[in-house]
């Protein structure tokens, strides 16, 4: 009964989140030489999934290809990705060192922002526009 009473009392509670469940990344897919037709340089979600699987497998072997990934959003040549926070370092290493080939072009990932809180990454992404000419 006592706990019900405390719930009803108006109060201020504070909690610190250090070990969040997820990590997030905003990645850009870069082709070299670049596509001249911009519609081709905006990969679809299956292309993203396959490319990420390849990158993870190449760097981490079977464990990498089994890593849980959620593709939350696609915007032009960018993808917003969610994965377990505990894999953040591995994920970061795997995508930054990756170089693949498709269509006679080399491709890789550019990290726009990566970290524990998606909201923070969005701010970092927008800040670039503020300083741009």
């Amino acid at each position: 009964m006592a706990s019900t009473v405390t719930l009803l009392l108006p109060r201020v509670d504070r909690v610190t989140i250090r070990n969040s469940e997820w990590g997030y990344a905003i990645l850009q897919m870069i082709f070299e030489p670049p596509y001249t037709d911009s519609s081709l340089s905006h990969p679809d979600i299956l292309t993203w999934r396959t490319a990420l699987s390849t990158a993870l497998k190449q760097y981490l072997g079977l464990f990498g290809s089994a890593m849980h990934i959620d593709i939350l959003h696609l915007h032009d040549d960018e993808a917003t990705i969610r994965f377990p926070r505990t894999e953040l370092t591995k994920f970061s290493a795997a995508v930054s060192g990756f170089m693949g080939a498709v269509d006679g072009k080399a491709f890789g990932f550019k990290t726009v922002a990566m970290g524990e809180f998606l909201m923070g990454l969005l701010g970092r992404r927008e800040e670039v526009d503020l300083w741009a000419e």
């Binding site: 909690v15 969610r82 909201m119």
Partner: protein, 386 residues
């Protein structure tokens, strides 16, 4: 190194308002987003758009100037001694030399060489120096330019002027915002560096996000942020609350994707294979969740804390003034503010380092059904704030 963290505050006491304190201790903001149900937006939009916060939109300018330009008499007297301005230079914290100015306090985050050549009184940077190494890499100089020691021509002033002309003579990119703008004609001579570049206003961008999934914003039954003792059950309830709070935070971010769009995964029509994403809006047990329309009002620029507070109070006031009690009860509204990451001081102007950050800023959510107010504050790994 510590990882970055997120502080969550739940306030169910209407007489207290922890968000005001947070808004006022966060100085350099560059993005502001308000999210609310579209139905609610239509009810308050007319009075909101004629409110003082939206009548005086903050403006900012991007300047190319050497640091010494702030010591020119026009700039110095108008903006430093009398007015109140925000000024921040481009660069990365703990990698470049960064200059910021707020409330008359000039801060310089400098590398060893620049610090020694400048000859200004400062202190070792708290985070950028490796412990155990005798040689210090970085220093922080804090000068209160409004103090009487900085009269034009005084010893301190000349020292700063000398440092500017010998160590920092090259023009660099600054963002500048006048937080206390005077009507144009009261300034007899416009300050030269400012008259050369156009001023950019933070015009609001309103986007309507139709057909998105919306959670109920009601925490799961029995879930509590704190208290309940050490039993396994109590631990479970706290865990459930944390997960719920982080889901709300994640959902807010998913409504703030680039170009005023919601994320693909929150669209009502989205059917995605679990191989590509397992994300779902809200808990399965969240019966009140549904499909709706959310309005997003976004501002970008260099936004002063006073204006941010004014806007937030206006929005909340408009909702509190609604006549229909049922509408008021079901209303939810949130505000997200993103801060500049290169500023050497963070929350409450406490020094911070450049590494281990996952963004900068805060989000406030007014929950429906008297659920109280949720506040999320992002704190970097190299930042002492709790």
């Amino acid at each position: 190194m510590q990882p970055s963290k997120c502080l969550i505050t739940l306030c169910t006491d209407p007489s207290k308002d922890p968000s005001t304190k947070s808004i006022l201790s966060h100085h350099f903001n560059h993005q502001l987003h308000v999210l609310l149900p579209t139905g609610l937006y239509h009810l308050i939009s007319q009075s909101l758009h004629s409110s003082p916060a939206l009548a005086t939109l903050p403006a900012f300018q991007r300047l190319q100037m050497p640091l010494g330009a702030i010591l020119e008499s026009d700039f110095w007297n108008t903006y430093i001694k009398k007015g109140n301005v925000l000024l921040v230079s481009k660069g990365q914290l703990d990698a470049d030399n960064i200059f910021t100015l707020n409330d008359g306090i000039l801060r310089m985050s400098l590398d060893n060489e620049a610090y020694e050549r400048a000859g200004l009184q400062g202190r070792q940077a708290k985070f950028a120096n490796q412990p155990g190494l005798m040689k210090r890499r970085r220093f922080l100089v804090e000068l209160n330019l409004r103090s009487p020691n900085y009269m034009t021509g005084s010893k301190q002033f000349l020292k700063l002027q000398h440092a500017c002309s010998t160590v920092f003579p090259t023009p660099q990119t600054f963002l500048f915002a006048d937080l206390d703008p005077k009507p144009q004609d009261s300034l007899q001579t416009p300050v030269e560096v400012l008259s050369q570049v156009p001023s950019r206003g933070a015009t609001p961008q309103v986007s309507i996000l139709d057909n998105v999934r919306v959670p109920s914003f009601i925490s799961p039954h029995d879930a509590v942020p704190q208290g309940g003792g050490n039993s396994e059950e109590a631990n479970y309830h706290r865990e459930v609350w944390r997960d719920w709070a982080m889901e709300v935070y994640e959902y807010m971010a998913l409504l703030l994707m680039p170009e005023g769009k919601p994320a693909d995964r929150v669209r009502a029509a989205d059917e995605i294979d679990p191989y590509l994403s397992t994300y779902v809006v809200g808990d399965q047990e969240d019966e009140e969740a549904g499909v709706g329309s959310v309005t997003r009002i976004s501002f970008s620029g260099l936004l002063g804390k006073e204006w941010v507070l004014m806007l937030w109070k206006e929005v909340r006031k408009r909702i509190a003034e609604l006549e229909d009690e049922e509408t008021r009860k079901r209303a939810w509204v949130s505000m997200t503010v993103h801060g500049l990451e290169n500023v050497p001081v963070g929350w409450k102007e406490v020094e911070r380092g450049g590494l281990g950050r996952s963004g900068d800023g805060y989000t406030i959510v007014d929950l429906p059904q008297q659920g109280g107010q949720l506040l999320y504050e992002l704190v970097g790994g190299q930042e002492d704030y709790s």
